[in-house]
Assembly symmetry: C2
Homo-oligomer: 132 residues x 2
Amino acid sequence: MIGRLNHVAIATADLEKSAAVYRDLLGAKVSAPHALPEHGVTVVFVELPNTKIELLQPLGDKSPIAAYLEKSPSGGMHHVCYEVDDIAAARDKLAAAGARVLGDIKIGAHGKPVVFLHPKDFVGTLVELEQA
Amino acid sequence: MIGRLNHVAIATADLEKSAAVYRDLLGAKVSAPHALPEHGVTVVFVELPNTKIELLQPLGDKSPIAAYLEKSPSGGMHHVCYEVDDIAAARDKLAAAGARVLGDIKIGAHGKPVVFLHPKDFVGTLVELEQA
């Protein structure tokens, strides 16, 4: 069912400093910051040859990563995103197997349908599925 | 400097159950367990089209992931591994810039030279560099 690893999301309270770590220390290709107010984050894309790292900073007062940063103020890995061909079929299969799907399918930060899966059912890892 | 994302490592106290999550729920290609006593883990490789997820379970009483699982008994994302061309040059560049390099370059689980970097200097994320 799952295909490519679309991205690894890393939460940070200081996007500029974190982007500099990837750009200046690790020598990666790093985008300008993109504000995504409808998703409650500002994102910097770290482009690797085979996938992306997304550095996420909270935006607004209902950011989905605010709680994470309260627990882990220095940031850290927030979720992984796997691609699927058919997100409704994936959601239905997982729900039928008893896995906890978090909310409805929505349009994600890349303009494609996404859904999140509960960490407790996926090896302690928040998983995003994105219809590729 | 960094190239491909070689793998994302996910720690688990129950490798069989975690492998089943990826194989049966998420429909991924999952290897048999490999015991790596010299690295203190047993690993299952989840093969995605563009990278790997490595599910790690502690092996022996000096496992490098034991402390992580004490804090997070249900498991979770443990580190990311980026490929570099020249690991000694990468280590020297990072150390000269003041980043904390954890210990010496060693031979890692794939038989290649690796070194770990301190999460506090890398956006709260434990980073492994592997000479590809």
